[in-house]
Symmetry: C2
Subunit: 426 residues, 2 copies
């Protein structure tokens, strides 16, 4: 067997190598199932996934037929009432969950409030929640509300962990009720060992809530074999459910009967159409439902799950690692002249499906890239994020992206005033 | 001036009278702006409004262009981030609110939790919430969570009022923090005097949260002149926003700075894209935003608001009263042989835009009506509900509905086993 020095190997790569890799890519046919604009290299599927080709027709059918013709009858005839659970069952295989364990909710923030509050209440004697200082901030904001909701006049204490310390080991003790962690970090792409971390949390007698926003559809997730407790996730990123598509919630079956929802809406009631005066939680994960689901957004998600039903997540992971390794290698090899730092872990077991580069003018560089059709995004203060959605990003895309990046840096076009930071929101 | 005895007048009405009324109805042209199936008399717009003709194309454009082509750029370029507020500003005129006072949220249940918790926290010394025993039940379920969230280890007390007593006067005292009321009752269609009740609540030093689900788009609402505090409402009923369209929240400007959201998501943050670690509420009503809005559902709502921009709510109210009065008169005149009771107030000032009839076999009768193309709904234990959406329900529809009802009762077709109650959800 021939061993190749990676630094040498990357010098031999050219665009033709990349197109050759695409030619033998078992996931390459999936690209045709997405509608992507001409001339765009889309490396932001970690923020908003691309549009599946089947979505337009499906959404239009739901609007015109289920709503327009079926009208109120579609709550029964089109299975609308069951959708948050029937669609949840279609997400379950992507996260190692069983049927009846996943339910669609409102926004991820609302759903995190729902499950994290329930989790904290399952450890009533314990007064501490643990989270990551580098979390996507909404997780921290929501936890502030959880601390107050569960703690009452004396809000729960919060301990924050960080890769620079304190570590999870430093803060885990018998006071910790719940640990909320992002499986894959939204900025750096760093990935936790879900099973190993779950075990450590359990060893301390606490419960774990996994935020799967940046891992579902990007890496294989197995909540059941990890013995995790609760999870929430996002369906508009790698799952291609459309802008603002509903979040999902998962609870291990062992918690179903004891978990009390924090948001007690009628769709989470055991007998919603008997209209009783008091709240009585539905059996199972359905109790986490709140109000009427936003069915048109759910319809778009359903259409994208038709694609995901045909996907082998092991192939996704293999390709994802090939793409991110190729990107990192090309960045190392071709951008060494500039102060560009690879922030994402180089060890594949620690990496999700995105790569972050640090540059103090990251904002302007990202804007200049977008003008060239290479769409990534920027996260303050200095990170350029590139997501690699294996269903529609090719090896040639990776080549073209690094090409564009080299061109933007070499030409210094990013210094032009039109790329200066404005009040943009994404 | 000629005075007509109503009982005599109704005997002179026939279908031709109704079509004559339609011919001079200033709102009749709006019917063409909705897509309704042939042969259907749709009297359930109080539950799920009909599909506006412009919605399909608008939603498809958002899917294909804003999502499919614009991709992540649409957060800026298509104004996605601002939508919950820009669409809120378009709802404001329908409820007597000013610009910057209305924001779109998740489900109505989640939004009620958001504003009712904020309201209760504005009266920290007071330990009681008041609600109506006959509320749409989710309001009571959500209040259970509010009681626990605000009260902590000693949940707030709840006092329930009812038209049979105790009355609001009976329970209002210096312990009451918040009163949550439905402007129009979901079952009976009974309407409160919003200004008068608000005044009584304020006289007791409490705050009022109005649930406008069954009044927005059905009757003129003026929250500002009523000096109300908070409101939530539904956009998928009379506003025709589509199944599960997002709820809206309103807060009087005087509460904007002091109100603390209960669900603290990043879209409600003052500087969401700086990603700070701590929650800091956005100025104004934007602080009630939670997470990423479900934009496809929002898109459908936007399309329906194009219709509502052209509507005169005073004409809506006039026609609504004509329709409900006509319906009640015809029911009185033609159905007197059967045990059908009009539950809705006959005094127009006390009535929204729906009429409920009580019959012990209401469920089967509604199913038999639906088979005949007359779509109303049933609410346990014995109420048949008929909503009259003035933009697309005609006087002839009212005639045809009563005709069908008389036929179903006279033929006793509703006794057939296929109409027996099953596990249907609506």
């Amino acid at each position: 067997m021939q061993s190749t020095d990676p630094a040498t190997a990357v010098q031999t790569i050219d665009r033709a190598t990349c197109t050759s890799l695409d030619a033998v890519d078992p996931l390459a046919p999936f690209r045709d199932r997405f509608s992507l604009p001409e001339g765009v290299v889309y490396l932001d599927g970690n923020s908003l996934g691309a549009l599946p080709r089947g979505t337009r027709a499906h959404v239009d059918r739901v609007v015109a037929e289920e709503w327009g013709v079926g009208l109120i009858r579609s709550w029964n005839d089109a299975g609308w009432f069951a959708k948050p659970q029937s669609v949840g069952d279609r997400i379950a295989p992507l996260i190692g969950a069983g049927p009846g364990e996943v339910v669609l909710g409102d926004s991820t923030s609302a759903s995190l409030f729902q499950v994290a509050t329930a989790a904290a209440r399952l450890r009533p004697g314990r007064r501490v929640v643990v989270a990551e200082r580098g979390s996507f901030p909404t997780d921290l904001y929501v936890l502030e509300s959880v601390q107050e909701t569960v703690g009452g006049p004396a809000p729960l204490e919060r301990r924050l962990v960080h890769e620079d310390g304190p570590t999870l080991e430093d803060v885990l003790d018998e006071d910790v009720a719940v640990v909320v962690l992002s499986h894959v970090d939204y900025r750096t792409g760093r990935m936790h060992d879900l099973a190993e971390v779950t075990r450590r949390v359990h060893d301390a007698g606490a419960l774990v809530v996994w935020d799967l926003c940046h891992s579902v559809g990007a890496v294989p997730v197995d909540l059941t074999s990890a013995d995790a407790d609760f999870a929430v996730g996002c369906t508009y990123k790698y799952l291609n459910g459309g802008p603002g598509a509903p979040s999902f919630m998962w609870a291990a079956a062992r918690h179903h009967d004891a978990a009390r929802p924090a948001l007690t809406g009628w769709h989470g009631h055991a007998r919603p159409f008997e209209f009783p005066v008091g709240f009585e939680p539905a059996p199972g994960v359905a109790r986490f439902r709140v109000g009427t689901p936003q069915l048109l957004s759910l319809a778009a998600l359903e259409a994208s799950l038709d694609v995901w039903a045909d996907v082998d997540l092991d192939l996704v992971r293999e390709k994802s690692l090939r793409l991110t390794e190729l990107f990192i290698s090309l960045v190392d090899h071709r951008l060494g002249r500039w102060p560009v730092e690879v922030v994402t872990p180089r060890r594949s077991s620690l990496r999700g499906s995105q790569v972050a580069l640090r540059h103090e003018s990251g904002y302007a560089i990202v804007q200049a890239l977008i003008e060239r059709g290479v769409i990534g995004d920027f996260r303050a203060p200095d990170l350029m994020r590139f997501g690699f959605a294996p269903l529609y990003v090719s090896h040639a895309d990776v080549w073209d992206a690094v090409d564009a990046l080299e061109d933007v840096l070499a030409s210094e076009v990013w210094r032009e005033p039109r790329f200066a930071r404005r009040g943009d929101v994404t």
